[in-house]
């Protein structure tokens, strides 16, 4: 069975991201970067350009007028928003067809990611809060650790299932029991390995215990992602082997004074946008369990 040290060693050998994503991540951290820099990264990649423009015209990101070029997208939406869309479009291509340890196909995994990105932002707005920087991407990539673990997990899937079959244990607890770590810890390591902006690593690391994040901004963003993650699991967006065995952190409920009516409104208002974005970014699937 794979050891914890081995897992973290393997994270350092994960394949690098497509050049375009890595360069975009570097640009978003560079205050001097401008429209031309973004264009020079995205334009040479026709698939990325096409996906970016589809997203730019989706109901969720979309504006009242049609966006036809990368330059126009940046002018109308700003660099941060275009980075968020480009990262989504680029990550969609690096997901393997199936994540063995988690019993989930790529399409369902990605639907979950999209749902958490959208729900995080919508919840922040519904609460009347400023949307933390890169929150959509932080939500989208909160499970990046599963992607990393899934890429080298084979034998561990069975004991994890056995732990889950055995009484009231959360999915994260089953991961810890079998792997000695969980996808949140591995998520931070993977985000660092891929040089993603810090906000993304922080949300990935703390989305199951948001109030333990080291900074106030990190706590708010991770808490929004946590609540969105819970909602997405409830609504069945990307169900995996853990099914509904997830802990709602009561400190997050208290922090935002979350009530059923608000959660139901946020869920109902985002369904169409989540479904549309999943359709735009996922090839049709052949089989489901």
């Amino acid at each position: 069975m794979i050891g914890t040290d081995e897992i973290f060693a393997k994270v350092q050998t994960l394949p690098t991201l497509p050049t375009s994503v890595a360069r975009l991540a570097a640009l978003i951290n560079d205050p001097r970067a401008g429209t031309l820099d973004f264009e020079s990264v995205i334009r040479p990649d026709p698939a990325l350009t096409a996906n970016l423009l589809r997203l730019a015209n989706s109901a969720y990101f979309g504006l009242s007028r049609e966006v036809v070029s990368v330059r126009q997208a940046v002018a109308l939406m700003g660099l941060k928003r275009v980075f968020e869309m480009a990262t989504s479009a680029a990550f969609a291509r690096v997901i393997p067809p199936f994540l063995p340890g988690y019993g989930i196909a790529a399409g369902d995994f990605w639907t979950h990611c999209i749902a958490v990105g959208i729900l995080s932002e919508r919840l922040a707005r519904d609460l009347g809060r400023d949307v933390p920087g890169l929150l959509f991407t932080a939500g989208l990539l909160h499970d990046v650790g599963k992607l990393a673990i899934g890429s080298f997990l084979v034998d561990e899937a069975l004991p994890m299932h056995a732990h889950l079959a055995d009484g009231r244990i959360s999915f994260v607890a089953a991961e810890r029991a079998v792997l000695g770590t969980d996808h949140a810890e591995v998520g931070l390591a993977a985000a660092e390995r891929w040089a993603l902006p810090p906000a993304i690593g922080v949300a990935a690391r703390w989305h199951h215990a948001p109030l333990d994040a080291p900074t106030p901004e990190g706590r708010v963003a991770a808490a929004l992602v946590h609540a969105a993650d819970c909602l997405a699991h409830m609504l069945g967006f990307g169900t995996d082997v853990g099914e509904m065995r997830r802990e709602v952190d009561r400190r997050v409920v208290e922090m935002f004074d979350l009530r059923p009516a608000r959660l139901e409104r946020v869920a109902g208002d985002t369904l169409a946008e989540i479904s549309e974005m999943a359709r735009l970014m996922i090839a049709p699937q052949e089989s489901r369990p």
Partner: protein
């Protein structure tokens, strides 16, 4: 065999005895499954939320999103196939929940409570159900026979 998939916030009725109606990933959502053994008609709704008052506009676009607007629609669709209320067999599944000690995320429980109220008001009796818990479920009905199965945690049971 034709397979008809019911998406979240959607409703499907079929009078094709060869058809199987299926819905996936029922978490806190609920599937109400109807069968008329006389007419060999089957129907299923996969609703997401209890009451349309949270988003009246959404209820106009997607009435099947809510129990109070969607469930009556499912019954009406069955009646329009010539089904008689008295012969309908009604099964219910889903309504799961997370580990949530404050209960604020308990949409599953609310979905179920509202459904029971609607059924009670209309004198509808549930023949079989598998609701609650931390399960995510896949539900199927074979339109010809009325056989309903629920799959969860790697096991399939007949309801």
């Amino acid at each position: 065999m034709t397979q008809l998939t019911v998406d979240i916030a959607d409703c499907v009725v079929s009078a094709d005895p060869e058809a199987v109606i299926v819905t996936y990933a029922l978490g806190s959502c609920i599937a109400v499954i109807l069968h008329d053994p006389v007419r060999q008609v089957g129907g299923m709704i996969h609703y997401m939320l209890p009451l349309s008052e949270t988003s009246p506009e959404k209820a106009k676009d997607r009435p099947s999103m809510f129990a109070d607007t969607g469930v009556p629609l499912l019954f009406q669709a069955m009646y329009s196939h010539g089904c008689d209320k008295k012969s309908l067999v009604i099964k219910v599944t889903g309504g799961g929940s997370l580990y949530d000690d404050k209960g604020m995320f308990n949409i599953g429980q609310r979905n179920y409570t509202v459904l029971r109220k609607i059924f009670w008001k209309n004198g509808v009796i549930i023949a079989a159900e598998d609701v609650g818990g931390t399960k995510s479920r896949t539900a199927r009905i074979h339109v010809g026979t009325g056989k309903v199965t629920v799959r969860s945690q790697g096991e399939e049971v007949e309801l």
